[in-house]
Point group: D2
């Protein structure tokens, strides 16, 4: 796609971003001599300890290649094929992972209505009408995405309610934390507060979208789900042989509050972007800007040129809704440039 060329910075996604220099340096520093493979090395131990520290200690941690795998293998730990996972209709694991959950777990996903990407605790018990009936899949886990696929953020109270509704009914709680850092930064809370303390059992703990090359982790806050996970990771084709280089990235991200600085910056850029767009004629934000993305309806005519220049996604072409994502390396100047350009475009079309 030639239009995707020559974009220095863009709003396409936080995975269009590069790698934070500290992360790159950590990889280079890890490149000394030989180290045992498959995670039997010091850097992996250090990364695991750092992650443990961030989520409040007692847990099991495994590093993976892919966030999709973190979701799928995490859920596989909690449900058997005849059981089911309750999720938002907007959940990445439901909409954007090519059916990996169904293929790998063999179970059904049950989507709930999710205005602004968020499910409601009250909807969970409504899915349990057929519990005990052998003809029907049996819900056994709930998954929430924090921050959501729409850039919104569950409050801690909302998450607690969801976890309570789940646990009260014998269901487990998974959190897709592909952007957990942005959520914590948005809430001004610790990772522990938005995961363990709200009742999460298993956490997909994403690094890639916050400045790594490729690094994802799964955190079993409820240790029982970690049983035999080393085999499931291998069978799930997610065991890195030279794992020290994945670990090094996490160590860098979790040192010197880099995770927080990266996430806060990305969030601030999104807020600035949202503010700059807000009020322009024909422009309407469709979601609250709570983390590092902006969803907005733009005048149809301005989209093609803006998209070519700034590389974002059209989210809903019927509505002319676009998604703009900021990242650790988004520059204020880019945001200003985008807003100025947009202002000019919407003005000129009149």
């Amino acid at each position: 796609m030639s239009k995707e060329k020559n974009i220095s910075r863009a709003f396409g996604s936080d995975n269009w971003a590069g790698v934070h220099p500290d992360v790159l340096a950590a990889i280079a520093n890890a490149n000394v001599g030989h180290a045992p493979s498959y995670g039997n090395d010091d850097l992996t131990r250090e990364a695991v300890e750092k992650i443990r520290g961030l989520v409040g200690g007692d847990c099991e941690v495994f590093l993976l290649f892919s966030g999709t795998a973190a979701n799928v293998l995490g859920l596989q730990s909690m449900v058997r094929p005849h059981q089911a996972v309750i999720c938002a209709e907007t959940a990445h694991v439901h909409t954007s992972e090519a059916g990996a959950a169904e293929k790998h777990i063999g179970c059904k996903l049950i989507p709930l209505a999710a205005p602004h990407g968020k499910i409601s605790a009250a909807d969970i018990p409504k899915q349990l009408g057929y519990v005990g009936n052998e003809h029907h899949v049996q819900p056994k886990a709930v998954t929430v995405t924090q921050s959501t696929e729409y850039g919104t953020v569950y409050s801690l109270a909302e998450l607690k309610e969801i976890a309570k509704a789940a646990h009260d009914n014998g269901l487990y709680v998974h959190m897709d934390g592909a952007r957990i850092f942005n959520a914590a930064a948005s809430l001004g809370c610790s990772i522990e507060e938005t995961t363990r303390d709200v009742g999460v059992d298993v956490l997909s703990f994403g690094g890639t979208k916050n400045g790594l090359i490729a690094g994802e982790a799964i955190v079993f806050l409820n240790r029982k789900f970690a049983e035999d996970f080393d085999y499931r990771r291998m069978q799930g084709m997610q065991l890195a042989s030279k794992m020290r280089f994945v670990a090094a990235q996490y160590v860098a991200l979790l040192s010197n509050d880099l995770w927080k600085r990266n996430a806060e910056h990305a969030n601030r850029m999104a807020a600035m972007l949202g503010n700059g767009m807000c009020g322009l004629p024909g422009v309407r934000l469709t979601q609250r800007v709570q983390s590092n993305s902006v969803f907005a309806i733009l005048p149809a005519e301005v989209i093609p040129e803006m998209q070519q220049r700034f590389g974002f996604h059209v989210w809903n072409s019927d509505l002319n809704e676009v998604r703009l994502v900021t990242s650790f390396d988004t520059a204020e100047s880019e945001v200003r440039e985008f807003c100025a350009e947009l202002a000019k475009s919407v003005a000129s079309r009149r």
Copy 2:
């Protein structure tokens, strides 16, 4: 495992090795601005072209995280669940991938006797006695590992015979090329000669063991198996979001004959190691040293101390057989040191 600490260089595996400096530099150089994710970037296009060039053009290429995934998703492209894959009893996909093939494809693997890690073309037709009988799985693919799990290398003639036996019977040919570079270096031939020209349909084209951080590719020399593979890769949890950084590694490896220099060096170190060990009292090489590993029986008493110092694997503890693997970064001095130390140890035990 405390014994695994503090090893500057070792013979544990080529995945205990680090990353080649050129590869690291390529990653750093790729870290400029934003780029479309999921492989829609220039570096991925360049890597694909370079791989195409190496295997003789016409083919489809996909980058993946994991060599296990290359094997499993490659075979999934060729067989349906009721079919079967004929493999060596020593094949990595059979012995060391935690059942990923059975789990992901749902098919049976049929292991053949494999002296020195190599199957014989003559054994393939013998597996076809139940073709057409609905009670029996139907062999549909043959997989060979080049170089083998025992460091041996199929001759081009052997591979051609195997492919002919397969194709004549309606079976497809997969090659696990986790160490394809070492094989080509050993044979003194091109990658094309040891893959396309011998009749391989689908190739797992490994980079990690030859100096990358983590980079594997699957090459569909027979393009029909690539149909819909983009979905299978995503559903197989192997689609890298920041793919340019995987691609950059391959570009570096395939530039300036780095792949060949790395592989030739590793092979030369293994040959030197084998020569140095050969003839020591109580030491017996159990496999021909044809690529980058040495399999040898050592006197039982010398193993623990040597292992602690040089970090290799005991392959068969009943036989006191060990495996020593060399890599692009094995130093001649290490090889000499190992051989001298071994000579001293076996002498002192008398």
Copy 3:
């Protein structure tokens, strides 16, 4: 469940019914000497030919144990795991087969709104917005149930529109014909007219609900999907060893228009039941009575006693909606008795 005892006839389901005497006689008649197993017998050949005759000739036919299996293995023939099946939100394969489709095929089902159990052709293209995008499952089949889970019947025109919408977009059409005989009887058409002629590619051709002990078939009107199906049936654990006894049941059902007489009778009983209930105070039919079931809201107070006596299911306890199913062996006297009893009950509660 003690309440389920001692029910001579009931409205619980057409699978609470017994076996038609002709079918039982056919089984006894088949019990002569030995016959090759697994379908290599004359009766199986005869059953297949009879089924072929009913659907207009050119097709492949396989006998199975279970209707769930007919649906799941039929769909498995049409879709790969990364693809998806569009279905009614009320489809048996979606709601009542314990996730067998997800487990066995590994694919996602996409439920459509289905007022009165029927999907609309117009909704099919709306599911195709992400065709070609590797992150999303790819719809490849549409399944319809005829007659539906709500006892309604698609018109031939409706089915043709659905099949056209599917085929125009490269999707295949599966029909869950667990009650295909009741549908054909309702429409006054042949089986061929409501299957092949409307564009069905693969048909689950149910016998059990129309007077068999246990007999289901899958009919590949589009023969390409039958390729290798014998293996998929075996691997799907659906190959009867003494198949002649399944075949004998079908032969009986398809002889002397028994299928039609059974279905017409069941439909007539449902119509009579619906007519008898209609107009009673507090009773409201919720679905058109088009085949062999009646869905109705009853006054809450009358349900327990009526249910104990007539053994039907409460379909929606929030609405006090019940489902009454008639079968080949429902007696007019039972219908009259039910209606009289209901009339008395609703009158007495005033």
Copy 4:
């Protein structure tokens, strides 16, 4: 296959046999009125109690359609996909179920050498060298077939040793009892003695080969494996809707010692057959005749005509080894006729 026509009685298989008249009568007797479906009926309760009685009480019992399903779903209850099942290289689940275990469980089967169809307890611990290593599948169950696929019968002592070797190493024991009745009749022991008492955890309890139309059961002697099995049966497409008719068959088989009379008769016919063949020139029995089959090498020239007339299988065409199976309805006259004919044929070829 025209040669398979017109065989009144044959030695093809015990599933070429018909149905015992008592079983047929029981089906007819069950055909009274309506009964709740899916096993919520009195006959199913009765069948379950009769099976419980036979295996010594405390257990969970589920009826299924298929013996393959009993094996696969039984093993699925004991192993997760990353685990493995140790079996005889001759095990039906390994050789003759079209890979259903790999497809449905997603696990690997590990075949052991099995002279005369029997594995040795001593070989079990040898498969455990990689327990605890994440790269390798983890053996978790052992399955034995009683009587074996070669008509031989494990002694109770052999079974106890196998179960001890399994349990001592944390593995569970499954028994494929497709011909469990023949085994018990051969051993002169009860079903309980050859299942529960020797340490079996889960039993495939076959009825079809001993005079039923189609009826298989799974017996969880270790109740923990029955947890959620009702869902796994439904998802495994093995839940009969009109289950009373499966149950009625078992009730008949387990009444009046019919199972024992049937099995003893079949065994006696095999013994008579073996005795009659033994000593004929060019004829050599290859297995001890311990249950209801005879394996023998015949002179090549006599096979085609004998096979056409008596409908048996050539087991190993390289060896001219054939398999003759007797059943509850094999007549002494047939056995005599076969032996006389064979004697004549082998004499005439001299």
